[in-house]
Symmetry: none
Subunit: 250 residues, 2 copies
């Protein structure tokens, strides 16, 4: 057990749990360390960005490097562990934002987003929601969850654009088609300028537990890109499903 890391952790803990800012002498008393030891540690931690020193008082706060690291740390959770490497591969293949969603009631929630390298993207907020029946990942999940599909229909299909599917039977036929082809497409059904391709994710019992999808400005999708992306997204959904122990679906 590395002693230096333990001491630095104690310093960070003091800053996280108690009032800030904190001076060298305060640390020495709080942690039972000689002030020369504390002073040297803080100097190193400051140069690494783990703490920052208030110029007026000379006292210390937690550094913004931790904020940067923390933003990255939160990205790796739950279904994400399995999905992220595959989403990253998909993003690398098609260079579009790749989203991870789950179905909650009649809406989808964006659990995660793998960012592409394009400067112009369709905006999606991790933690945000959207109606399931008019986005690609939502339709991909509804197609394999008949009970939830009927619940969505029962709740009512509000029009968001002229392309939104609002007739129940049309949505049912759309879902049948999705089951057959293994992916869903959205072309401006929720937002006029946004297109997407979604594929369901199944668990070991064959239940749909999530979906991955792309989100692309419509102007970037030509015929060739559609075909390439459909294949890549479908394959990624299958791969993630297999990693979760799902039975083979083709």
């Amino acid at each position: 057990m590395n002693q230096s890391l333990q001491k630095s952790a104690q310093i960070l803990e003091t800053l996280m749990k108690g009032p800030t800012p904190v001076g060298v002498n305060e640390f020495a008393h709080a942690l039972g360390m000689p002030k020369s030891t504390v002073s040297r540690f803080l100097s190193t931690m400051e140069s690494l960005g783990f703490v920052r020193r208030d110029l007026e008082s000379g006292k210390f706060y937690l550094g913004l490097r931790l904020f940067e690291l923390g933003c990255k740390a939160i990205e790796d959770v739950g279904l994400r562990n399995v999905a992220i490497p595959e989403m990253e591969r998909l993003r690398d293949t098609i260079d579009e934002n790749v989203l991870l969603t789950v179905l909650e009631d009649t809406q989808i929630t964006y659990l995660d987003k793998i960012d592409c390298r394009q400067a112009i993207v369709s905006q999606t907020n991790v933690g945000g929601t959207a109606p399931a029946y008019c986005v690609s990942s939502g339709k991909a999940m509804l197609a394999f969850d008949a009970e939830r599909l009927e619940k969505v229909i029962e709740k009512g299909l509000t029009s968001f654009t002229s392309l939104t599917i609002v007739e129940p039977d049309k949505l049912r036929r759309e879902c049948k088609k999705i089951r057959e082809q293994g992916y869903a497409i959205n072309k401006g059904e929720f937002r006029v300028d946004v297109t997407g391709i979604g594929a369901p994710i199944f668990n070991a019992r064959g239940e749909v537990v999530g979906a991955i999808s792309t989100a692309t400005p419509a102007l970037r999708m030509n015929r060739n890109r559609w075909q390439t992306h459909i294949e890549a997204v479908t394959q990624t959904g299958n791969t993630i499903s297999r990693l979760l122990g799902a039975p083979n679906r083709g």
Copy 2:
């Protein structure tokens, strides 16, 4: 300079900057450390919560302790509490993404983003960084921090697009102009399709402590929008500065 903390920082940096998860051997190669050294460090960092090990693969991610520390770190930046309501007003006025940044060494860090309602936006990662000299908020801060400006110049001005300012004197003249007009503009200097308007934020001692900026796809910026946005961003920067007790700058 404590060697152990440096090594742990390198490990965290590898996890933050590159693809994850990462194995012991990968760290050893990436960092030029013996795998015994890496293995011991990871073991200690895991017990402290700084990294977490995927049970299946044995590979490592950044730990959620960093997320906890990062949340506290950003709380300590009082700037956010003051800035957010004004940023929201700005977003409501111009309907573009509004960003809050601070200057760290020669780069900016995105502390916060207030999302607009547009479907197509310029992508920005909270917790992410960018070189200060070729984004609007970075230039807005450098203009009022001569020492930091010279440090950036000394480090070198890499070209990102054909519009990036890479001549030191041209950057200095640009900063002089920014000081005069009170705002900075970026038109494709860092990413070709992205424009932005940035305004500095000052504290009670008249020191620049941050900046707000917009981030907009270039195709959405016509002449009228430029003028409207410049006035709104500049006014918001002034308002936030006044709230922080800054002397009046006009």
